[in-house]
């Protein structure tokens, strides 16, 4: 559930970029950070090792004004994808509102993709949540590479559920479909929020 602060008239959403190691989660945030005006975002906090691997998590706060007087804030997090950092992933997933699952499209990463989405399910389950209960969007990243699996196989691996998730082919390094993915998960969040709080915000008209 988003955090609603009636005093400061703020609604805060937490979106977590989840996925296997080296899949491009941090690249997503770096691109988003580079495209949003500094006046509407905070600094990108990134704790990475010397080899550019996310050690703890990346964090990017984004502010957007709501016309109805509520300031909408988005906190974007990534998790460390490496298997050993599961405790950190569980911590970052606390009170998550929406998830972007960043899959690595390369053939040799298919098993890691499956392992990562199962890990997401398990970690959500520990919070009493099922995958189908929260807004999730799939991003098939690295589509510019030559050794990528076809999208229908990625869909088969990661999206063969009763509830079909929206999916996007993306190239996080160049930014292709990065904002489209974020826009999609945000739409899901806002619709859900509007449905659950009709009295709070009668019409959602977000803007900067």
């Amino acid at each position: 559930m988003p955090t609603i602060n009636y005093g400061s008239k703020e609604v805060q959403f937490k979106i977590v970029f989840y996925g296997p190691a080296l899949g491009g989660k941090t690249s997503n945030l770096v691109y988003i950070h580079s495209r949003i005006s500094p006046s509407h975002r905070g600094d990108l906090v990134s704790l990475a090792t010397a080899a550019d691997r996310t050690l703890f998590f990346d964090f990017l706060p984004i502010n957007a004004l709501m016309l109805h007087g509520f300031k909408m804030k988005f906190q974007l997090y990534t998790v460390p994808g490496q298997v050993i950092y599961n405790s950190t992933r569980q911590l970052v997933l606390r009170n998550v509102d929406g998830v972007v699952f960043v899959a690595d499209s390369q053939w040799e990463k298919m098993e890691e993709n499956v392992g990562s989405i199962r890990n997401l399910e398990e970690n959500l389950q520990k919070q009493g949540l099922a995958l189908k209960q929260i807004p999730i969007v799939l991003q098939f990243n690295k589509r510019d590479l030559s050794n990528v699996a076809p999208v229908n196989y990625l869909e088969y691996l990661l999206n063969n559920r009763k509830k079909r998730l929206q999916s996007f082919e993306a190239v996080a390094n160049s930014g292709a479909n990065v904002f489209a993915t974020l826009d999609a998960v945000t739409q899901l969040l806002l619709h859900r929020f509007k449905k659950e709080n009709p009295q709070l915000i009668p019409g959602i008209q977000p803007g900067w």
């Binding site: 399910e121 398990e122 520990k126 699996a149 088969y156 489209a180 826009d183 945000t186 739409q187």
Partner: protein, 495 residues
């Protein structure tokens, strides 16, 4: 197994020196550690009712009769365990996760294996307890099925019975967590597979003969496990032979993102003339089959998305703070729409050909190495690795796709072959701006290893040093070899 008799006796009248089975079975599973920072669900959130982790949230599976369970059982672990199932009436297909927690810690290998990987265990080696829905088998049997997860062979003094819960196969084939929500691909593709209690029909042999997939042996050998590879593997690495594998076995593993077959199945599918070469391999060892190769031969209808999917897209589109940048990007990247990718139901696209053919040969390479031996890609890389001061080498594309050779540890190889070409190209672009001349190669000195990389065109040759810089002439020779390989690539392309 001759020592199984003591499993089959009632526990009360089984005076063995081993720990009673009940004690092991009822050993409580350690709860997940809860730290002060553990998530506290919001009071508005829906909390799932407590229950056994493997309990599906919505039951879709049919009740399974006891006879069916007897003939076709699945072994499942806790919620965190990977699905496991009985592949046929004779073998149990067991995920490592189903029993990994039960292994004595002093016998576990340092590296945690993939818990979703399955191992095959002969059904006759296990004792099925129908009353408790559990199966028991000796630790030594497990160690034979997956020796790589043990630090050493299980000695008689270590041998203890290990017991797992068993569940119906329909449940076991699902993903953990949202198991009820995942379509069982095996079930959907083969409705007859649901009839687990039936005996094989007379025409099954003929049907299974038609139910095969042929893949190129060459592609399998490129990623053949180093510890299993016969010494002569290089001599037929460029073979055009194909291997027949059971399509059902392949399809059943596609949802895992990894396909491997037991060495016995691999050997059975080999052409007759090649079978002796692999005769010495442990029949229970796993041979990975590259997905890319499988998909270039897979029937278009082999993978199907379930047809009862419901979209979660909101019908009413609202403008979010990210809609503007998304539309800008869509225009910038000249994509027709920033919307979700369409659900494709067409056959997988044809895989691009490798830029270098493994069987390409060159007189110039023979001259470089001063040999009359015909040099193809594999033997050329072998020659490079034998240059003084080098430990190993691998040829990849600049995208990190491996073409030949190896750098030792597969995990290290993956990382290095992904990093070095990228690093080279970045450095190269910077050097171009600095007008320092073309970058010839890069060397990275790490504590335990030194790596060098050379890039020509789309090819990257990475080498591991013998803990010292290049000896005189070695670097130059590598560059000449790479130039020739690159020229062969260009020649192959133009042809």
């Amino acid at each position: 197994m001759p020592f199984l008799h003591w499993f089959r006796k009632p526990p009360a009248s089984a005076p063995t020196g081993f720990e009673p089975v009940e004690r092991i079975v009822t050993e409580p599973v350690a709860p997940a550690p809860v730290s002060p920072d553990s998530p506290v669900p919001d009071s508005h959130q829906t909390i799932a009712p407590p229950g056994p982790p493997e309990q599906p949230l919505e039951t879709e599976s049919e009740p399974v009769s006891e006879e069916a369970v007897t003939d076709h059982v699945a072994i499942a672990g806790s919620a965190k365990d990977a699905p496991a199932e009985l592949a046929t009436g004779r073998y149990l297909s067991v995920s490592i996760g189903a029993f990994y927690d039960k292994l004595p810690t002093h016998l576990r290998a340092a590296k945690t294996p993939s818990l979703t990987r399955t191992v095959q265990i002969a059904e006759e080696d296990a004792v099925i307890h129908h009353e408790t829905n559990e199966a028991t088998l000796p630790l030594s049997i497990l160690s034979l099925s997956c020796p790589e997860i043990f630090t050493r062979p299980v000695e008689p003094s270590d041998d203890v019975p290990v017991t797992f819960p068993i569940t119906a196969p329909n449940e076991a084939a699902r993903a953990p967590g949202d198991r009820d929500d995942i379509l069982d691909p095996e079930k959907s593709s083969h409705p007859e597979a649901q009839d687990s209690g039936t005996e094989p029909k007379a025409g099954e042999a003929a049907r299974s003969a038609a139910n095969e997939i042929k893949v190129r042996l060459q592609s399998i050998l490129a990623d053949f496990p180093h510890d299993l590879a016969p010494e002569t593997i290089h001599s037929f690495a460029q073979t055009e032979a194909e291997i027949s594998l059971p399509l059902d076995m392949i399809k059943a593993q596609l949802p895992n993102g990894r396909v491997a077959v037991p060495a016995s199945t691999f050997a059975a599918g080999l052409p007759e003339d090649l079978k002796p070469l692999f005769a010495g391999i442990d029949p229970t060892a796993e041979i990975p089959i590259p997905l890319r190769e499988i998909f270039s031969h897979l029937p278009a209808d082999a993978i199907e998305i379930r047809k009862d999917q419901e979209s979660d897209h909101p019908e009413e589109k609202v403008a979010t703070p990210f809609t503007g940048p998304a539309e800008e990007d869509a225009r910038r990247f000249a994509q027709p729409s920033a919307g979700p990718s369409p659900q494709r139901k067409t056959a997988p696209r044809k895989i691009e050909q490798l830029p270098v053919q493994a069987n390409a040969a060159s007189d110039k390479l023979q001259a470089i190495f001063m040999t009359d031996e015909p040099l193809d890609l594999v033997t050329t890389l072998k020659k490079v690795a034998e240059l003084p001061g080098l430990q190993s080498c691998a040829l990849t594309t600049t995208e990190g796709q491996k073409l030949a050779g190896n750098l030792g540890d597969p995990n290290q190889e993956k990382l290095v072959s992904g990093l070095l070409p990228d690093l080279f190209q970045r450095t190269h672009s910077v050097f171009n701006e600095l007008s320092t001349g073309a970058l010839e190669g890069i060397t990275i000195y790490a504590g335990a290893c030194h790596f060098s990389a050379f890039v020509r065109g789309q090819l990257c040759l990475s080498v591991v040093h013998d803990n010292r810089p290049f000896k005189p002439g070695v670097r130059e020779k590598i560059q000449v070899v790479l130039n020739e390989l690159e020229a062969m690539t260009s020649g192959a392309k133009s042809n």
